[in-house]
């Protein structure tokens, strides 16, 4: 086979592989949306479920998901932004920094079921929080921490050094420089990390099922159990309660994922020009 024919064959083969990847994405989202969107109505989003979810809507699960995500963000954001600022702006290279970076990166590789196991036995059992919004939110906070640290650190690193030098040269202290110059310029990147984390928290199932439980009501306090949309979908589908409602819940989740993607892309374009040609939002080991 001459090299030119080989070349064009290779192009066709690789191109088809890429097309197949796109086709797989379209097949999955298309199937879920095609079977589910017709059941998504304002009533579906705003009503409580009846007879275990066979009838009615999913409002309590939307509220529960929002609560869980809010708790996770409230705990993880200050910690991870603080950690990233320390790593990017204060730390000198050394053992401590290497250790911290290694630890957060390792956390990103932990499978969600292990987070679930940890949360279940520590928050639910040992600390006596029970299946609750608090247990679930704290577990999710641990899970999204690495994503947020990494996104924030990358955002801070892409702020040009001359911004800092200019600020310091004007006599600003380091804290002033960080809070008034560096962080505001890094805001789109930090927001990207927050949005990706929301996506992960909303979609997480295994860890939430083990830590927040699956009670189908609106949680009245942090100590109440909650069933997120993802857990609701799992229960509807695996127990065969209602495929229509399951498809509809799945559609809502897929739409949220699409929105998260659109938001991160929009923010990605607004970022300070960084070093990378294209920033992959790196898949962490979510499950």
């Amino acid at each position: 086979m001459n090299s030119r024919r080989q070349e064009s064959l290779a192009r066709v083969a690789l191109g088809s592989a890429a097309c197949l990847t796109v086709a797989v994405m379209l097949a999955i989202t298309g199937q879920v949306l095609a079977s589910g969107l017709s059941h998504v109505s304002p009533a579906f989003l705003l009503e409580a479920p009846r007879s275990m979810g066979r009838e009615g809507g999913i409002l309590p699960t939307i509220i529960s998901t929002a609560y869980l995500t809010t708790v996770a963000l409230a705990v993880a954001s200050p910690l991870s932004i603080g950690a990233a600022v320390y790593l990017a702006e204060y730390a000198r290279r050394g053992r401590l920094v290497q250790g911290i970076r290694f630890a957060t990166e390792s956390l990103a590789g932990v499978p969600s079921i292990i987070f679930g196991l940890f949360g279940f036995s520590v928050f639910v059992l040992k600390l006596g929080m029970g299946w609750s919004v608090l247990s679930g939110g704290l577990t999710l906070a641990l899970m999204i921490l690495p994503t947020m640290v990494r996104a924030t650190e990358e955002a801070l690193q892409s702020v040009p050094a001359r911004y800092r030098e200019g600020s310091l040269a004007l006599g600003a202290s380091r804290w002033q420089t960080v809070t008034r110059v560096v962080l505001p310029s890094a805001l789109p990147g930090i927001a990207t990390g927050v949005i990706l984390s929301v996506g992960r928290a909303v979609g997480e199932t295994a860890a939430v099922l083990l830590t927040a439980g699956s009670a189908l009501g609106v949680p009245q306090s942090l100590g109440d159990p909650a069933r997120s949309m993802a857990v609701h979908l799992y229960i509807l589908a695996s127990e065969g309660i209602s495929m229509d409602r399951a498809y509809a819940t799945g559609s809502v989740l897929v739409i949220l994922v699409v929105l998260v993607n659109a938001a991160t892309n929009y923010l990605g374009r607004r970022r300070v020009p960084g070093r990378r040609k294209h920033a992959w939002s790196r898949p962490s080991s979510s499950a």
């Binding site: 191109g15 796109v22 797989v24 932004i81 950690a83 730390a91 294209h278 939002s281």
Partner: protein, 297 residues
């Protein structure tokens, strides 16, 4: 762009106590973030080791019977189940994922690359329960029709996981190829090699450690995946005999039984978690070692 932290650029003139406090608080949050993995490791080891010490790790890992009601705990069927599903996923996913990565890195016109990357990013964001749901409603009936069996099988699990590991393979694979120094590519092309010859003769061999790391991380994801797998594999704790056999995985074992387990049963599930955790952390180390080997050269 230099990656030097600001700290090496010189001390600021003002150093009020408030500055110190701020720095201390930031350091504390960094340490707290790092503590997560330490807590989890300590917890997993602490809750798994007592059980393993009592029953013997070898008996636990190689035991082929899992009967919590009789106090018999052997997880070999789950290990085999996880391995079978993962092998199937990698066999299907690796060629597709790496071919897509190669296409994106070297061959794709800019206008085509963007939608492919978008699709991969979207795949990365879809929750695993949605994949599982798709598998349950589409793939399991498909396998069932083709094989005239129940459809809950290694194959169904492998197919779902193959899609789920695509984002890891494509993004890390593309990064690995794109990080080959441009001189290599230019040198090969200048010698008259075609793009494909350059890819196979120069870029892939040079990027090999990174590509290996991508596959190893994909393997870790497949082994650690829970929801999608339990929805399509049937969860029967028996050794799989074919691609169409139902299987139980390590993750499924924990997720499905943790909620009601007590006593020894619960201890055994913690031990399962420890085996899973050790295996996945091992894979992550391997991947890191492999991609670090690349950077040194």
């Amino acid at each position: 762009m230099n990656r030097q932290p600001l700290g090496t650029m010189g001390r600021p003139v003002v150093s009020r106590p408030a500055e110190r406090v701020a720095e201390l608080l930031l350091l504390l949050s960094a340490i707290a973030s790092a503590a997560g993995i330490i807590f989890i490791t300590a917890f997993v080891a602490g809750s798994g080791i007592p059980f393993l010490a009592r029953t013997g790790i070898w008996a636990f890992i190689t035991g082929s019977t899992w009967r919590p009601d009789h106090g018999v705990f052997g997880i070999f069927p789950m290990i085999a189940g996880s391995a079978a599903v993962t092998a199937c996923a990698l066999a299907l996913g690796t060629p597709l994922g790496l071919a897509t990565a190669v296409y994106l890195a070297e061959f794709a016109p800019r206008r085509l690359a963007a939608p492919v990357r978008q699709s991969v990013q979207l795949l990365a964001g879809i929750p695993s329960v949605v994949y599982g749901f798709y598998g349950l409603t589409v793939l399991v009936p498909l396998v069932s029709r083709v094989s005239s069996g129940p459809g809950f099988s290694v194959l169904a699990g492998g197919m779902v996981l193959a899609v789920m590991v695509l984002p890891t393979l494509v993004s890390l694979g593309e990064d690995a190829i794109a990080s080959v120094p441009p001189e290599y590519r230019e040198g090969s092309l200048a010698l008259g090699a075609t793009r494909w010859q350059t890819m196979m003769g120069v870029l892939v061999p040079t990027a090999k450690p990174g590509l290996v790391a991508a596959v190893v991380l994909a393997m870790g994801r497949a082994v650690g995946e829970t929801m999608a797998v339990i929805m399509v594999t049937g969860n029967v704790a028996r050794l799989p005999s074919s691609l169409l056999s139902p299987v139980y995985t390590l993750t499924g074992n924990i997720a499905l039984e943790m909620g009601y387990a007590a006593g020894d049963h619960q201890q055994a599930l913690f031990a399962t978690g420890m085996v899973l955790f050790a295996f996945i952390m091992g894979l992550n180390f391997l991947a890191r070692a492999s991609s670090r080997g690349r950077k040194k050269r």
